[in-house]
């Protein structure tokens, strides 16, 4: 396989970003052409890589698993290697990332047209795309980590793209710092992995850290049933949880909606936040080194299930169109983590891909809505938009039905069912299954609420809504088609997809339909979805909506708690941030009381020295005539302040100190 072409996939957008960075602000067309062109080529190459991954050289499906490693740094006897990897997992993920990114790059041209920093926006987009594709195709945890941090940097830059808004600047900082907390774990896990396995390469002809030999050494039990592999896996999961907005590190993701909407669609819905799930799927052998019910996987499943339910609850009471989608993203990421945690990373990836398409569609639809009603984001100020924006309405509805898991036609139904099915079969506990079912119900409910608020009823705002230009609606149509078409590979033949990701020959069959329990689950979830949509319509669809939410009148305290995001931010303010603040105050106190005391002592000492020197000046070296007296006093004043800022004074003292040091050393030696 030609890995030069694979290397080009991440490098092209990066180089384009580098070139765009050199352009002037006015060269909008050139910058967009450069970045979109590079992304197009990268997209084609990634589709080619996917094809390669699907058909090995001998034409058999789903067997390819090729990598290339190269040394990067040598120090002492250690050599750090980086590498690229093409297998079904990276092939599918890379194609999805490159494709969605390309669509969003095109869409951004319409959305950001009027922005004066348009060129810089494309620079950041290119940087992001290159780094994200680097994460996907990396064959080394080190390279993954480097690109991972670059992706975080791009996210920071793009969230804070409108940095003159204080809220955007704060949100960018929050996102960067919160993910840093998780990345700390990832970094420690990486170091530990290097110590345990002696390499950070994923696959290296038997010597990689995901291969049998390394896994066997890591699977030895350390203490209390915990194996080394479990600890490392949990540390890596810290990073994944930070990036993928899992509880308790989810707080940054809703705030990240301060960024431009294409950014929310690309980074905070489709690709970057899914990188955590991808990482878990990639290093899944470490998670499962001690069996598929290892402690690390139980933690992943619990966190995922809890996040799915918790974020879906909060989404019910939000009024910002993008914030609802953000909490929905957190919730869906919880679903994916749940699937990975119950031992089916393939199912997690299936939902990831399906989710990427319909969530990007929803965000871009939301962007179109926001654009159409002149930068209004409050759903209470919208309403009745289906008459003004028909294309957006139809595509948004498709995305909404896919997210809600409307039966049969939409990809979200199949992938969500696969997750519920996997959770149902988990022998450890049934609790995650019930939590996920409840979350699925809430998903259908809050999406119906949003649709009712935005597209139905009467228009409640004060602007003049209009449909968005074709450059924005065309990607919507493509993504809507993808959201439906994705249900083809996602049909109950989903075990085939999982086998394909594992690199085994996939058997495409409808046997999944007859698997025990599948039909029950499918029927249950269908009933749940209809219940959610029906209840939503019952509450929100029938009467004209005002400023007060119907639930708010019915159950005010609960609604208030949800609207305030269950006070998680406030809890963090009261605990972590206050603790940090207290620590800072303590440091300040030490600085003021103790260090300042030392400084004052030094000052007093120098005053004493100056007094002595002044006295010498006055009485010993007194030459008797005024001029020299004045000059002497001037010098005394200069010496009085040893800290007078005169460089040569300091130098003199240093030289004297050297002499004293020499004398002491000489005295000690002789």
């Amino acid at each position: 396989m030609d890995f030069l072409l694979i290397a080009l996939i991440p490098l092209l957008p990066l180089v384009a970003a580098g070139l765009t960075a050199l352009l002037k602000r006015e060269q909008k067309a050139l910058s967009a052409t450069l970045v979109i062109g590079a992304q197009t080529v990268a997209c084609v190459l990634s589709l080619w890589a996917l094809l390669l991954a699907m058909c090995a050289d001998n034409g058999e499906p789903g067997l390819i698993h090729e990598f290339v490693n190269f040394p990067w740094l040598t120090f002492g006897h250690e050599t750090l290697k980086l590498g690229l990897l093409v297998d079904p997992l990276s092939g599918v993920m890379g194609a999805m990332v490159a494709f969605v990114a390309l669509l969003i790059f095109i869409y951004s041209h319409g959305y950001m047209k009027e922005d004066r920093n348009y060129t810089r926006f494309y620079t950041f987009l290119g940087l992001f795309s290159g780094a994200m594709l680097g994460v996907v195709y990396s064959n080394s945890l080190l390279l993954t980590f480097v690109c991972w941090e670059l992706v975080g940097l791009a996210s920071y830059l793009l969230i804070g793209f409108w940095f003159f808004k204080p809220s955007a600047a704060a949100a960018a900082k929050k996102a960067f710092l919160t993910t840093r907390v998780g990345d700390m774990g990832l970094m420690i896990g990486m170091f530990w992995l290097y110590k345990a396995a002696g390499t950070l390469l994923f696959y290296d002809n038997g010597a990689g850290c995901l291969e049998q030999a390394a896994l066997a050494t890591m699977a030895k039990t350390l203490v209390g049933g915990l194996a080394l592999s479990n600890i490392i896996a949990l540390l890596i999961f810290c990073g994944a949880a930070g990036k993928s907005g899992q509880f308790p590190l989810h707080v940054w993701l809703p705030d990240a909606m301060e960024g431009p909407t294409p950014v929310s669609a690309l980074i905070h819905a489709a690709t970057m936040v899914a990188a955590g799930v991808y990482l878990v799927a990639r290093v899944f052998p470490i998670f499962a080194a001690t069996g598929t019910h290892s402690i690390s996987l139980i933690v992943v499943a619990s966190v995922g299930a809890f996040t799915a339910l918790f974020a879906a609850l909060i989404a019910v009471a939000q009024n910002d169109i993008k914030r609802i989608l953000a909490y929905s993203t957190v919730s869906q990421l919880g679903f994916m983590m749940l699937a990975a945690g119950v031992g089916h990373p393939g199912v997690a990836m299936l939902h990831l891909i399906a989710h990427a398409f319909f969530k990007a569609l929803l965000f871009m639809g939301a962007g179109s809505v926001i654009h159409g009603v002149h930068d209004e984001q409050d759903i209470r100020e919208m309403g009745g938009l289906r008459r003004f924006m028909p294309v957006t309405f139809v595509t948004y509805s498709i995305g909404m039905l896919a997210l809600a898991g409307f039966p049969v036609l939409f990809s979200g139904f199949w992938s969500k069912d696969a997750i519920l099915h996997a959770a149902h079969l988990w022998p450890v506990s049934q609790l995650p299954f019930y939590m996920a079912t409840a979350a699925a119900f809430l998903t259908a409910f809050y999406m119906t609420r949003q649709m009712a608020y935005v597209f139905f009823g009467q228009y409640r705002g004060h602007a003049h809504p209009h449909e968005s230009p074709a450059v924005m609606t065309l990607p919507l149509v493509i993504l809507a088609a993808a959201a439906i078409l994705m249900s083809l590979p996602a049909t109950p033949a989903w075990p085939a997809f999982e086998e394909f990701l594992k690199g085994e020959a996939a058997h495409f069959s409808l046997e999944g339909l007859t698997e025990p329990g599948f039909l029950q689950i499918a029927l249950t979830s269908t009933a749940i979805v209809f219940l959610g949509i029906g209840l939503g319509w019952l509450i929100y669809g029938r009467k004209p909506l005002g400023a007060v939410d119907p639930i708010q009148t019915a159950a005010a305290p609960a609604f208030r708690a949800l609207a305030n995001r269950l006070y998680i931010d406030e809890i963090y303010d009261a605990t972590v941030i206050r603790a940090l603040h207290g620590f800072g105050s303590l440091a300040a106190w030490i600085d003021r009381q103790i260090l300042a005391g030392i400084v004052s002592a030094v000052a007093a000492l120098s005053f004493f020295v100056s007094a002595v020197s002044n006295g010498i000046d006055r009485f010993v070296i007194n030459f008797g005539f005024d001029n020299s007296c004045n000059a002497l006093r001037e010098y005394g004043g200069a010496a009085a302040s040893c800290e007078g800022g005169r460089v040569q004074g300091y130098l003199r003292l240093i030289a004297l100190g050297t002499v004293i040091l020499l004398a002491v050393i000489g005295w000690l030696l002789v």
Binding site: T74, S628, A631, Q648, R652, A655, V659, I665, L669, V670
Partner: protein
């Protein structure tokens, strides 16, 4: 011509008297003294160039030819140019002040100078005492074989044992270059 060069190179260089290195050393010290004491800054800079060049020759005489050439290139070639440019860009009143020393004479600066000379003298005495009277002084003899300095080995060393410092120095030089350019840039705002 080639013949001449061959004959020049095959002269018995190894058998030169050892004290010959004192010649560049003496020139270097004299020039350094000149660089320190002269009033006119340009004169100081020219003496400094001579001093650097003599130091390079001294390195060569000690067998470290490569370091000598680096010294010539970096100091005589680059740093001296910087110094002279800086002098020309910062017209100083020190020269004009020297025209009438009585008027501008300040006792504090005289005291300054006296203290500086005294401190320097102390340092010198301390250093020389350490060099000549420390218990281990004089115990060192030349290694049996005079060390040679093949450039290839330096290169090998640079890219193996000192690779990390080399890269760090590369970053440092880049940063210094950018920093110097930024610092010396005319401030548009003021």
């Amino acid at each position: 011509m080639h013949d001449l060069l061959q004959r020049f190179l095959s002269l018995p260089w190894d058998q030169l008297p050892q004290w010959l290195f004192l010649i560049p050393a003496g020139i270097m010290l004299l020039a350094a003294a000149g660089a320190v004491v002269f009033r006119n800054l340009i004169h100081c800079a020219l003496w400094l160039v001579l001093s650097f060049a003599a130091l390079g020759v001294l390195y060569m005489a000690l067998g470290a030819e490569f370091v000598g050439f680096v010294q010539l290139l970096v100091y005589v070639g680059a740093v001296s140019m910087l110094v002279i440019f800086a002098i020309l860009l910062t017209p100083s009143d020190e020269v004009s002040a020297s025209n009438n020393p009585l008027v501008h004479f300040k006792l504090s600066s005289a005291v300054n100078a006296v203290i500086g000379v005294a401190v320097t003298g102390l340092v010198l005495v301390g250093l020389l005492a350490a060099i000549f009277f420390s218990p281990r002084a004089g115990g060192v003899t030349l290694p049996a074989v005079a060390p040679t300095l093949p450039v290839a080995k330096i290169g090998e060393n640079l890219l193996s044992h000192t690779l990390l410092p080399l890269q760090a120095v590369a970053v440092l030089l880049t940063a210094a270059m950018i920093g110097a350019a930024l610092l010396a840039k005319e401030d548009k705002r003021s």
